[in-house]
Amino acid sequence: MQEHILSILIFFPALAAMLGFVVHKDSARAYGITVAAIEFFLSLWLWHLYDPMTSGMQFMEMAPLIPVFGINYLVGIDGISLFIIILATFFTLIGIASLTETRRVKDMIITLLFLEMTMIGVFAALDAIVFYVFWELSLVPMLYIIGAWGGPLRIYASVKFFLYTFTGSLVMLVGMLFMAYFYYQATGQWSFSLLEWYRLILPVNFQMWLFAAFFLGFAIKVPMFPFHTWLPYAHGQAPTIGSVILAAILLKMGTYAFVRFSLPLFPDASVAFMFPIAILAVIMIVYAAMVAYAQEDIKQVVAYSSVSHMGVIILGIFALNVEGISGSVFLMIGHGVVSGALFLLVGVLYDRRHTKLISEFGGIASVMPRYATIFGIMMMASVGLPLTINFVGEFLSLLGFYKQSHAYTLVAGTAIIVGAIYMLSAYKKVFFGTVTKEENKNLKDVNRTELLGLIPLVIVAIWLGVYPKPVLEPINNSVEAIVQLMHDKAQTPEAQKRIPNLAETGTMNSAQEAH
Amino acid sequence: MELTLNHYLVLSTILFAIGLIGVMRRKNLLMLFFATEILLNAVNIGFAAISHYRGDYTGQMFAFFIIAIAASEVAVGLGLLIVWYKRTGKIDLDQMTSMRG
């Protein structure tokens, strides 16, 4: 069973979703929780089995699909994907457990389980075609969630979400096919295996084009400025659970793919595009924060804050050193937990008042003290306070990029200022002051179902802020392997200078072991 | 003045163009079939000529099959045409608008 654990993880939710059709709709919820819990414990077991000191891929499985073209079902995980997978199972569990949706619950749960399969598939896939298939499949359940349970503008939002991301990924597919063709020309064999592709050293001008093709697909998913406009609509219209999964996991696919594809495949192009991308990232950070400050809808504030934080993640990835990339990957987890929690929290308020307008609230802290406390903790985590999960990631990301450029980091660092501005002012408007609206006077504080979802998130947010080592260490080891690979493949002197050579300085793993 | 392959190809092209004009010009379905026959024959000349100048039978083979296809096309086409005529009493293209998008 251990050698097939990844396949079980991927396909168990899908099978369960199929079975879910025959489950009675009154017990659908219990069924969903059970399945998601089993899946979550499976992923924890995966973590338990995972060897943190190995930097390469583990639990690899291979089955030929179209052997003529080298397309195989090839899956495996390393420290980078492991925790995102756990995050995905965790959020599916939390999402189903604290589901407050009452319309067509059974359909929702089946959709969520199907979505879980696609998410895990994306993060476990090591074959470009398998990756692509899961990547695109993940759009379908999300489209359905937004389109079927969304707000009044749901059709527009869901179509926009689908077409936008789909367009980007088509360009990415072209890039993949070309990459495979190039591999064929170089070796005389077809292969879509990432691990095989890693061995290729591409000419620099090829790298540029391929990088651009992949970039478009990933950037729209992230979403990077100026491709971000689908996100506010999707979040604005999606039901709570949709926003939670979207913000916590689906956005991470883009940044994850940068680490998995763009960096190791095209090291020279990554260096060449570092500053243009850094400019985009900095614009994302500051601009999205400003836009968030201007929002009148509390959910949009959180949505734009996601964009802003994703900017930091991008910046950290393109720091191209271990500190930055590790920080980014950690921040992916952190941002997933925090923004997921914030969307859940906004959902709590929405369930009670059926409005998300900030002006409708005020003084909520005195009516819902527990809610205000949890929101406060999550807000502080979002702002990046030390000893919360986001700080570790944000600090490392910025620290990493500081090595590459001082000025950009200084501007990007304003994230901690502008982030505080929009978050605190939104918090103040919603929670502080006196209760002005009559409807708000008798709001009920968070109930047990909601706490079931929120408390674990609070615990994780603080636990990983205080003691990130169990997560950071495997990530770090895997990232070191990637950085070393990039350095070895780098051809231009610029790239060789920018990407540190870990083997030479002999620092791999030494830092921790020394202590 | 030696005949070259190009002479035949140009002839073939000219005939093909005449066929094309016919295809576009005719509104009567039966006449349209005539025009398609011209197209097919124009191509046949080209194949036969290439076969001759390249010293390869493949071209003739193609021409041969094209003739076979043309024959069956006429058989089926005329059958359909008759059915249509019985149904509507007309074989005018402009009135066949059931495929309006």
């Binding site: 600090f395 | 576009m24 608008t97």
Partner: protein
């Protein structure tokens, strides 16, 4: 000894969590008592550590790994050395007193339990700040105190002004924190570590420009937390919080963190005297600047806040000039008497039903005798009259400026000393002397609880004796770590002239304040409408300028970014592309009119187009190939 370290550090955290458990429940005195008790434990542990450190040892522990990525390794490490133990003592003493005081002060408040939770959390953060053995650990505490300050300033969250002030404080501190982070980044990439000992040992090996930048960025961080110009406006606004908070956070401990940072980073600042001089100049400027604002203000707590600001300026002068131990000494002395002053003000506020305008008070010495005594004592100490604490610490700073031959700084500080004496006693005179103006407002004041006064007593005693009794042992202890420079004016005549002159100047200022305000208050219309009065009264219009130059344009720009750029440009472009495709479809669907003849025509058109492309491509291909040949 490690056990004491952990007790001193974690006792407040335990207290905070304990009180937090009762956060949503109605008031229970037990939370106040337990947290106070735990803080007292922390104080005892600190005292034990002090005696241990006095004997020449230090304690250094590494609890566990925090962050490790790449070459970066940051543990939760704590160090108790001469500097941090001083800070620990200050923090634990003042916070214990403030906790006990708060049991009385917050007696009628709904958020009693919450308050103690926050307050203890603050003490924990402060302890982390001072005990950490690396810069990032310090940063944890640094942000932690910022968070608690936000929570406590906005404690009465239904008040708009309080929440506004809380956010202002947090955001302004964040600006400075960014600079500090940059300083930390710089340090890491040039030195490879953030541990104090490693950094200080190797700081001399890196280019001096880098050190200069590190120094500047760290100091900008310090400026935010210590409310130095131009990041000072939050401190006065922070007085919206409960008074014990002002006493603990915005007078005694948190705002002095900036000074602590400079003192702690003394090996860095020793290498860059120009930056040090800048720090000193800014300090002197702020000392004067804040004192002038305190002269005319009509808000009791704001006056004391400006006084704090002014005293922080003094500390930075000392730190900037390299007299680190003097700065730390003034920090300590100031913590005692300023906390006392605030707590006294809290008593007055309670008695006056939260009235803050001293012009509406008067003659309170009858009904509030002990408060009067304690506040006068604190004011005397603040003014620097022999033999109270202020004399030994503040005058020492004057001497430092003189000895280092920065006569301009000296003059500024001397003048400020006069101003300090004046506004302190203006306040005392207005509140405790003269007519009982508050009777007009129907207020009948009463003295605070006895245990509150008892709690304040230690601070009173310390305000008196701290300078005299502690100076020598403190000097001997702390100079084991900090540069031991004795500041003595060798010429005895000059020394005596200066000392006595300063004392006389200060006493004159006090006398003038009494004369002007102790009897009846005459409001001089002419003066009040004058330019300078208005300038000072409006805090040099700086809050207004910030509002106009930063806050409002930022909001406008944000709205612009959203409504104009995001919706009308970025999003509209995307929709535009989609619309073009959609409209093309709309327009061209007439092609599919079902007419076979026209379809055939389209087919031929398509064929022609493809042929054109083929010809063009072939031609282009040939041209390129021919050229290549």
């Amino acid at each position: 000894m490690e056990i004491y370290l952990y007790i001193a550090l974690f006792a407040p955290l335990v207290g905070s969590l304990f009180a937090g458990l009762f956060g949503a429940s109605p008031k229970t005195v037990i939370t106040g008592i337990v947290t106070s008790g735990l803080l007292f434990t922390s104080f005892i542990s600190s005292a034990i550590l002090l005696s241990f450190v006095m004997s020449g040892h230090t304690v250094h522990v590494e609890m566990m790994t925090w962050m490790a990525a790449g070459d970066l390794y940051i543990p939760f490490g704590f160090v108790v050395d001469q500097v941090s133990v001083t800070m620990m003592m200050v923090v634990s003493i003042v916070s214990t007193v403030v906790h006990i005081y708060s049991i009385g002060y917050m007696d009628h408040d709904k958020g009693f339990n919450r308050f103690f939770s926050y307050l203890s959390a603050f003490v924990f953060s402060m302890m982390v700040l001072v005990m950490s053995d690396n810069f990032l650990g310090l940063f944890i505490g640094w942000e932690g105190v910022g968070l608690c300050s936000w929570l406590l300033i906005g404690f009465w969250y239904h008040k708009e002004s309080a929440t506004w002030a809380a956010n202002e404080a947090f955001i302004m501190n964040r600006i400075a924190d960014l600079a500090m982070l940059i300083g930390i980044f710089m340090m890491y990439w040039s030195l490879g570590s953030l541990q104090y000992d490693v950094v200080f040992a190797n700081i001399g090996n890196i280019p001096v420009e880098v050190v200069t930048w590190i120094g500047i960025f760290l100091f900008i961080g310090a400026m935010g937390k210590s409310a130095q110009f131009p990041l000072h406006t939050w401190l006065a606004d922070a007085m919206e919080g409960p008074t014990p908070v002002s006493a603990l956070i915005h007078a005694a401990t948190m705002v002095t963190a900036g000074v602590y940072l400079v003192v702690r980073a003394n090996p860095i600042y020793d290498l860059i005297p120009e930056v040090g001089l800048f720090i000193a100049s800014l300090g002197a400027f702020v000392a004067m600047f804040a004192a002038t604002m305190a002269l005319v203000n009509r808000d009791m707590k704001r006056i004391i806040a400006y006084s704090t600001l002014s005293q922080l300026g003094y500390m930075f002068v000392a730190a900037g000039l390299g007299a680190y131990w003097v700065a730390l000494f003034h920090l300590m002395a100031h913590a005692f008497f300023k906390a006392l002053l605030f707590l006294g003000a809290g008593n007055v506020m309670h008695a006056m039903h939260d009235e803050l305008d001293p012009f509406k008070m008067g003659g309170l010495k009858k009904s509030m005798k002990w408060t009067w005594i304690l506040m006068t004592l604190a004011s005397v100490a603040l003014a620097g009259i022999y033999p109270l604490a202020g004399f030994f610490s503040k005058d020492l700073i004057l001497e430092v400026a003189f000895v280092e031959q920065h006569y301009i700084l000296y003059t500024v500080l001397l003048l400020t000393a006069g101003l300090t004496a004046f506004y302190s006693f203006r306040l005392v005179a207005l509140i405790f002397h003269g007519n009982e103006r508050h009777l007009e407002h129907g207020i009948h004041p009463h003295e605070a609880y006895n245990f509150v006064l008892f709690a304040m007593a230690p601070l009173g005693i310390l305000a008196v004796i701290a300078g005299m009794a502690f100076k020598t042992p403190y000097y001997e202890m702390v100079t084991q770590l900090l540069p031991a420079i004795e500041y003595h004016i060798h010429n005895h005549t000059v020394f005596w002239i200066m000392t006595i002159g300063t004392q006389l100047f200060v006493i004159l200022a006090i006398a003038y304040a009494y004369k002007k305000y102790a009897k009846a208050v005459k409001v001089d219309e002419k003066v009040e409408s004058g330019f300078f009065y208005q300038l000072l009264y409006n805090q040099y219009f700086i809050p207004k300028i910030y509002d106009e130059v930063f806050s409002k344009p930022y909001l406008k720009l944000s709205k612009l970014a959203w409504k104009e750029i995001d919706l009308k440009i970025v999003d509209a472009t995307v929709d535009g592309i989609a619309n073009v495709i959609y409209r093309t479809g709309e327009k061209t669907h007439t092609m599919q009119d079902g007419n076979l003849s026209s379809m055939l025509r389209w087919m031929v058109i398509g064929l022609v187009v493809l042929l054109v492309l083929a010809v063009a491509f072939t031609a282009g291909y040939n041209v390129v190939n021919l050229r290549a040949m």
